[in-house]
Point group: C2
């Protein structure tokens, strides 16, 4: 894409009430626009990142047998009364419909997915199954101070699985732990993301969170580096440590962002809806459930917190809006023509390029490239051409290297 054709530009000013690093960088680089506290719009570069994260999640969900659906944002009040959460959930948005009937804006979809799937499950032969969606959620957060990490409106993937017994749930639940780790590896934060034991509510001993270590985190976790697992502060006690075989003296305290959460719901939501199946003996058995959440917009924010420096964002390749930032420098006709040739060459080979074809000086282009944070900065100048090619610099590194375009393409393919 030509950068001159992008309607957004990098910004110097940010909203006065914005304090979080993720939102400040994303707003400055024009990936998002703040509409009000906890509510953001996604601009062209930001939406490209969101779609890349979604594609990775979708791929892993499909491989795990998940069937994609898209449930409604509006939820009937009756469904939420059935589980008791109409009154007990503080952050539920309630809207009055034309007939003064109230509906909820979905903050999570157990109350919808159970009666939906219930219509199609009769026998043990219909189980197990899992469905997921990627969708806007709404939660009335009292303080929305962490940028896109904690929004009132946010994008989330939620999956729900249905099983004939707890053994079957356990197997799927353990499979999903691996799937979640794969996703964090693929988006580029696997090395600092820990599976963390957390409170299981009233139905399970534990749930599991996936926590990415960073100072911006709102959670405190205790990591056992050797075992590669962690314990959330809320469940840290001697009994738990003994059960997990963890030595307290080895634990390191860290701030972390919860980037995923999986729950063994068991019959918590199936029972209120009387969601049953017939077993081999024609007996009605209440269905066992699991649920698996992952915030898409929160993942984008976490990536910025973790992958950035004082100059801007450093996108991992798998989720970068473009792979290459191509910067022709100077006013020479020759340079801008060569840059266009190189741009076409990259595009033809299937690499995504942003060509900074604007009339700006080198310093301005470098500053924008650092802020936007594409993985490779490729400079074309009279000097680089004289030296036999382009100057390639990884965003994460200090020094670049002049090389022939063909050699760079070979390097990318490797």
């Amino acid at each position: 894409m030509l950068q001159s054709a992008l309607f957004t530009k990098t910004r110097k000013e940010i909203p006065a009430d914005e304090v979080s690093k993720n939102a400040i960088l994303l707003i400055k680089a024009s990936f998002v626009n703040k509409e009000m506290a906890g509510v953001y719009s996604y601009l062209p570069l930001g939406l490209r990142v969101i779609k890349k994260i979604e594609a990775i999640i979708r791929d892993e969900m499909n491989k795990a047998g998940g069937q994609e659906v898209l449930m409604s944002v509006f939820h009937p009040k009756e469904n939420w009364e059935k589980t008791g959460r109409w009154n007990s959930m503080d952050d539920l948005y309630k809207v009055k419909d034309s007939s003064d009937r109230e509906v909820a804006l979905g903050p999570t979809h157990e109350e919808m997915v159970v009666p939906l799937v219930q219509q199609y499950v009769n026998s043990y032969r219909d189980l197990p199954l899992s469905v997921y969606q990627i969708q806007n959620k709404f939660r009335m957060e009292l303080r929305a101070k962490s940028g896109i990490l904690r929004g009132r409106e946010f994008i989330m993937k939620d999956m729900y699985s249905f099983h004939k017994d707890e053994e079957d749930l356990k197997n799927y639940y353990e499979k999903m732990q691996v799937v979640y780790k794969n996703i964090y590896d693929r988006v580029g934060i696997g090395h600092q993301t820990y599976m963390t034991f957390a409170s299981g509510g009233s139905f399970s001993k534990f749930s599991h969170e996936f926590q990415t270590v960073t100072e911006a985190g709102e959670d405190t976790i205790y990591i056992d580096e050797e075992k590669g697992i962690a314990v959330n502060k809320e469940v840290l006690n001697d009994e738990v440590l003994a059960e997990l075989g963890i030595d307290r003296s080895k634990l390191v305290e860290k701030k972390a962002i919860e980037v995923g959460n999986i729950f063994e719901l068991k019959t918590k939501y199936s029972a209120p809806f009387d969601m049953v199946y017939k077993n081999e003996n024609d007996e009605n058995i209440t269905i066992i459930m699991g649920c698996y959440g992952m915030g898409v917009s929160r993942l984008m924010g976490t990536l910025v917190e973790v992958c950035s420096d004082d100059k801007g964002i450093i996108w991992p390749e798998a989720v970068a809006p473009f792979l290459i930032h191509l910067l022709p420098l100077g006013v020479s006709e020759n340079v801008s023509e060569e840059a266009k040739k190189i741009y076409n060459e990259f595009s033809k080979k299937g690499f995504e390029v942003l060509l900074d074809d604007r009339s700006l000086n080198a310093g301005e282009k470098f500053a924008d490239a650092d802020l936007i944070g594409l993985p490779y900065r490729v400079v074309v100048s009279e000097r680089s051409l004289k030296e036999g090619g382009v100057e390639v610099k990884r965003r994460a590194e200090e020094k670049g290297e002049v090389m022939a375009v063909d050699k760079f393409i070979e390097m990318l393919k490797a």
Copy 2:
């Protein structure tokens, strides 16, 4: 995909209050689930159709220079007060936030896109530009009786264009008329969709609707077949007919569904936000706008109204959830093994197949195939194998033909 793995099944019963053909067929075939009046969830088959429609729209929007964004569902009250629509728009949903502040659920996004784009436009050099999104919208419809044609929650593509003068808007607006026709052609309803002159509100003489002729339509239009255009009943008068050079005696009255609507907004929304650019003489000029709406879920409903018979849906190829419905018949091991080979062959060649591997009799499989409505039904049976292949029948045709699998693949490629 294996049909046995699909968690949905076709349904005999539909909600008692559902009267529209599109919703009845989509619910019976389990493309959608009705959650309450005017609110539907999309099930795996339905979501595949939605995504195919979206991909076609996105492709055409991108080709027309549109830049994709995703604006928020929550809209600040101030924005809507600025245009006067906080009070004047009857179907606006209003929600109370935690601090008892009110926000709107977006039914359209002029009030958001203007202040968003305003931040990036300074000079005439920044124009023209156009942005679009595909997103959930919310409208408090009093009667929601037309299935997914008129939802309280629905999926819509909305594009907004920004220009330096009316001439530039006019050029883009005319280009978008062609783009819209291309989309209707590609999804398969071009032959019965007419560009229709409609009321332009206070800022333009006309707006343009795109109306698909069907008895299920809520609108009445008058078509001039020769010219290939139509006039909406609301603006049908002698003055208009004279201006358009239409002879009243040639007009045919038809019911139709509005599947798109484009407006020359001019300064209607830019003026209240004081959205200006600097011209060549450094003067501030109010920006000229156009907007271009198209309901994605409504398009799906329209397709069902138009492309169906008394047995079920007849999906056009471009938007069908799968291209081929592969039906092995009988209990022979040989047949089911051959069917799997053929399934793999189709998949390898890149054709999307739904393999009905369930233990049902031929009548049940045929009825489901007709209801679901994939373009090609391919039967594998002892008889078809003996006759040299598979029986291929188009959903829209009565009679099938036995042919070798290779020949069918050649036919599909042609």
